[in-house]
């Protein structure tokens, strides 16, 4: 009984970590269908769209993980900058400007960003922003070309951006585990897993 009380007390003390872990489990429970997109319109269709591409999901989570690893100001700068740059990439895709190797670049983004987390790389802020920004354009372009001709494009776009942003914030929440030694190992392991997933996408296995 004392052990149970102690375990409950530990959980209560670390509720942000527990919440973050639970959110991640729920998020990753979404089936991975590798960028198939969603054809329904409205907020729900837009919200579902980024979640139905496993390559996009792991890269977005990696952005958040890396931001949390790098600390302030990167931890909040990346979730602010990424949607804007991604929307710019989306505009390029929507108006039909071709961008070579989009799917390859998205897979590479998982490899690179996952590796950065796994290696606990700490480059200068401008290099991190440039790297993430470049990948954001490819992710945005891919989504821009996939947006369906739905009736309510405002609700669809809001859902799409909110889902992408929440993926970042999930990564940030999980990345905050790195404050603890065991958490740091878990986060770096997650980065390694993301990099391996990227390799699988590149080789056509994912």
């Amino acid at each position: 009984m004392a052990r149970l009380r102690s375990a409950l007390s530990l959980l209560m003390d670390r509720w942000p970590v527990v919440t973050a872990a639970a959110a991640s489990i729920l998020l990753f429970a979404v089936p991975a269908l590798a960028h198939t997109g969603s054809s329904t319109g409205g907020f729900v269709g837009g919200f579902a769209h980024p979640l139905f591409g496993s390559d996009h999901v792991v890269a977005m989570v990696a952005v958040g993980l890396w931001g949390a690893f790098l600390g302030a100001p990167t931890i909040w700068l990346l979730p602010i900058l990424f949607p804007l740059v991604m929307a710019f990439g989306g505009v390029i895709g929507i108006v039909g400007v071709p961008l070579p190797g989009v799917e390859t670049a998205i897979a590479v983004s998982a490899v690179v960003l996952g590796s950065m987390v796994a290696l606990a790389a700490r480059p200068p802020l401008w290099i991190a922003a440039l790297l993430v920004g470049a990948f954001a354009i490819f992710h945005g372009h891919a989504h821009g070309t996939e947006l369906p001709p739905g009736a309510d494009i405002v609700a669809y776009s809001v859902g799409f951006v909110v889902a992408t942003g929440l993926l970042h914030l999930t990564g940030v929440a999980v990345g905050l585990l790195a404050r603890w030694r065991a958490g740091r190992i878990a986060v770096r392991t997650a980065g390694g897993a993301i990099a391996l997933a990227g390799v699988a996408f590149l080789s056509g296995l994912g």
Binding site: W76, G90, V91, I94, I153, V154, V161, G165
Partner: protein, 175 residues
């Protein structure tokens, strides 16, 4: 439901109007406390002018596109979190108000009901904006995380508005 209540809820029923009100509310909420009232007043005057123009029979305009463009600008400014000159913020508020009013034509058979809808729309939009401004300033007072949260929301709004504008352009529906 009577016309006034329909109008009152109208700004909250259209995603583009919610987006624009949220972006402007966050922007005004980021400004110094004493300056907020100027922008709020500019919005009320703007929305009254837009609704009056609709009542006068202005007809179809490109207000919806301008509203999205202003939502993008306001969202991007929120993401940057730079203090704006009072006049610049008031101007953005006035443009948002006018375009929101122009983009709210009432669907009514009688003039009495149409007038009630327009009055309700003006009041509903102004109250919603005031509530967002109050909420933003309260959250910002809680600390850094509140201010960062507002900036992230601004970024999401700007990104959403930009995507919609691009989609409308690609479909030949812009302006």
């Amino acid at each position: 439901m009577n016309g006034f209540v329909v109008g009152l809820l109208h700004p909250l029923a259209l995603p583009a109007h919610v987006l624009a009100l949220l972006a402007l509310g966050l922007l005004i909420g980021q400004q110094a406390a004493g300056r907020r009232i100027v922008s709020l007043a500019a919005f009320v005057i703007g929305v009254a002018a837009g609704l009056t123009a609709i009542a006068s029979g202005v007809g179809q305009t490109s207000a919806a596109d301008v509203l999205l463009a202003v939502a993008f600008a306001n969202g991007a400014l929120v993401a940057m979190a730079r203090p704006l000159p009072t006049l610049a913020c008031a101007l953005l508020a006035a443009i948002t108000g006018v375009t929101l009013g122009l983009d709210s034509p009432p669907e009514a058979i009688s003039i009495a009901v149409a007038t009630a809808i327009l009055l309700g729309t003006g009041l509903g939009a102004s109250l919603a904006l005031a509530a967002i401004v109050a909420g933003t300033s309260y959250i910002a007072s809680l600390g850094d995380w509140g201010r960062i949260g507002a900036r992230i929301l601004g970024s999401w709004i700007a990104a959403s508005a930009l995507l919609v504008l691009a989609l409308r352009f690609a479909r030949g529906q812009l302006f």
